[in-house]
Symmetry: C2
Subunit: 213 residues, 2 copies
């Protein structure tokens, strides 16, 4: 299976864990609407309409509109955490692992930019308890990335004077892809991943291949 086909399958299965079918259609519709207009500007009537149901049907599967956002945020951030974890726990030098982490993380934010936009920019609409639960997932993602950068610093591969600051910047860079990326833009998700991996490796002072003389 090629990389494109693999990703297409992954796309259709983005909400595969949600059942029954009606609940999955609602999640998918909500992500679309939230990404387009924002959580507060989206009405439950709009979500239900996109899913092909009456407004009341939403409340059979979810107690509130906020619960929909909570479910989306949970699934999305767990996926993001797994992506970062796969790169962090792989074999290889810190340079290879950081390049992999940024490439896959940035690519996911481009490919799933609707989902990513919702889970990264609509968090403040969550209830306080749900908010702290979700930001905890974020902190774990952050720690994984920081460890890679710290490893490179310790091994002498990187020259990053301020490890926490650099981690923050790298994460911010990847996350913000979700804000500006559009499918009809000039860059594919793969190209964004490759570009960002290159930029970040230079940023931490790692030796990069062809660009360095």
């Amino acid at each position: 299976m090629g990389a494109a086909a693999e990703r297409a399958a992954e796309e259709s299965e983005e909400w595969a864990g949600v059942s029954p079918d009606a609940a999955r259609r609602l999640v998918s519709a909500a992500v679309e609407a939230f990404a387009e207009r924002g959580y507060h500007a989206t009405t439950t009537r709009d979500i239900a309409g996109r899913a092909g149901m009456s407004p009341a049907a939403l409340y059979i599967h979810y107690k509130t509109k906020e619960e929909l956002l909570y479910r989306i945020s949970g699934i999305g951030h767990e996926k993001a955490l797994r992506i970062m974890g796969a790169a962090a726990e792989a074999e290889g030098s810190a340079t290879e692992r950081l390049g992999d982490a940024v490439r896959t993380f940035a690519r996911w934010h481009a490919e799933h930019h609707t989902t990513a936009r919702v889970i990264q920019y609509e968090l403040q609409a969550l209830s306080p308890e749900h908010y702290t639960e979700i930001t905890d997932l974020r902190r774990r993602t952050d720690r994984l990335l920081r460890q890679i950068i710290q490893d490179g610093q310790d091994s002498g591969e990187f020259r990053a004077d301020d490890v926490p600051g650099t981690t923050l910047a790298v994460l911010s860079l990847c996350v913000d892809v979700a804000r500006w990326f559009t499918a009809d833009g000039p860059r594919t998700p793969d190209e964004v991943g490759a570009l960002y991996a290159d930029l970040v490796l230079r940023m931490v002072g790692a030796a990069v291949g062809p660009a360095r003389v």
Copy 2:
């Protein structure tokens, strides 16, 4: 003068061009509320309350709630454009100008993170005409930065294979400061500016002082 009063004074100075006094207080209150909750989750009653007036008073100075966001976005993006312009038109090498641009631009986004958050993340709430007008200001800021990077590429100071992509990444990095920065965090706006200038100069392959052996 206490810290709160000092911040209030600085805050009101940011909108010095807005008069009369009641209109300025409303802008200031709206920025605070929009940054905290988002445009759609903010009520006109909340804005008026923060400004110490009745809900109806808002409509003496602004036709709609959207006009408030439009005024804030216009003033904010013009300020951002002037900051970038000052760095772009300064004397000096591309390295010096890019360092200056990133330092001042990132610092402004940290120092005025409430305003910056509103003007960078609430644009979609503007009317279509206002939206295109404001995004035009953004495009001009983008062009100034791209020219600096192109200059450095032409002179051989930088090694940035993809100038538009690198410009996008640098701008994205600076803008996203507004999302995560808080006044009670571990970094001052000056420190953020210095860190980001250093990271970006490495990113474009410029020769940076002490970090490079």
